[in-house]
């Protein structure tokens, strides 16, 4: 299978804007690793485009940014893209990373049953703290970075030829390192965010084949 990546980047509220810009800024880097990227940005992050693209150009890696729930991941304006019991079979033989709430609890395991090779995501709500005055330059937001840089690390590690398991561990360690760094600064005014970093670390999970590679 070709080293194509399908990425969905809805952008209709502050949460999806942050996910889209943080994970969009890395696309040129991925191209340098020799990957072909199908970027479904804003309105293009809809179910029809996702299904059509996966049928036309077999993608080894599907990277979903957006909202979600235990049984689904959504796209622009919260349109359901993939739903357990409906169309998870389109993820057959793919490595899937969903940075969205909860989908790794049910959609993840069901996707593996339906033939997906690996599914990485969050089994509970993905929470992050940000600086709202940075909305127009969200990638410079140092608070959000604590929560979002692990995602870039995961994707880059995978793109560089590491296994899913190695890449996942690298990303999980990044969340942990950020947590430990904050823990060592007890006088920080934003130490409240510790529990949210810990929460994301705890619920960041990987299903399926940890030896899979792009």
């Amino acid at each position: 299978m070709s080293k194509n990546i399908l990425i969905t980047r809805p952008e209709h509220d502050p949460t999806t804007l942050y996910l889209s810009t943080w994970n969009g800024k890395n696309l040129s880097q991925l191209q340098e690793y020799g990957l072909t990227i199908f970027d479904l940005h804003r309105e293009k992050a809809n179910r029809k485009e996702v299904e059509s693209r996966l049928k036309k150009s077999p993608c080894r890696f599907v990277f979903l940014n957006g909202h979600g729930d235990y049984d689904k991941v959504t796209g622009h304006n919260n349109e359901v893209l993939i739903q357990a019991g409906d169309n998870e079979d389109i993820l057959h033989a793919k490595i899937v990373y969903a940075i969205s709430c909860r989908s790794a609890a049910k959609l993840g395991p069901q996707s593996i049953q339906a033939g997906a090779e690996s599914y990485i995501g969050y089994a509970e709500d993905f929470i992050f703290v940000y600086e709202p005055y940075q909305l127009s330059r969200s990638t410079q937001d140092e608070t959000a970075k604590l929560f979002l840089e692990h995602s870039t690390l995961f994707v880059n590690a995978l793109a560089k030829g590491n296994t899913v398991g190695e890449s996942f561990l690298r990303a999980k360690n990044n969340l942990k390192e950020n947590f430990v760094r904050l823990l060592a600064e007890p006088n920080r005014s934003d130490s409240q965010i510790l529990r949210f970093l810990w929460w994301d670390h705890k619920h960041f999970v990987s299903h399926g084949n940890g030896e899979a590679k792009l």
Binding site: D13, P14, T15, Y18, H67, G68, D69, N78, S100, C101, R102, D125, F126, I127, F128, V129, Y130, E131, P132, Y133, T143, K176, F179, V180, L183, S189, D190, S191, Q192, I193, L194, R195, F196, W198, W199, K202
Partner: protein
């Protein structure tokens, strides 16, 4: 969880939120984005978002007690 403990945790969550800088927002997935003042209201009301914050605090405290944080 008994109601006395539940109230204590709620108070703790409120105290923690009070110390949060006002220039931050928290994205809680599909629930949306909240200022600290909005979160304090949610915890006081005891709605889904408030209950979620209390659940996070409970699990965090439990993990600290068990020494599994780091």
């Amino acid at each position: 969880m008994n109601s006395e403990l539940s109230e204590e945790i709620k108070e703790l969550v409120l105290l923690r939120l009070e110390t949060m800088p006002s220039d931050r927002k928290i994205s809680i997935g599909s629930y949306g984005e909240f200022t600290k003042e909005e979160l304090i209201e949610r915890v006081k009301k005891g709605d889904e978002v408030g209950k979620k914050l209390i659940a996070i605090e409970m699990e965090f405290l439990q993990a600290m007690k068990e020494g599994v944080l780091v």
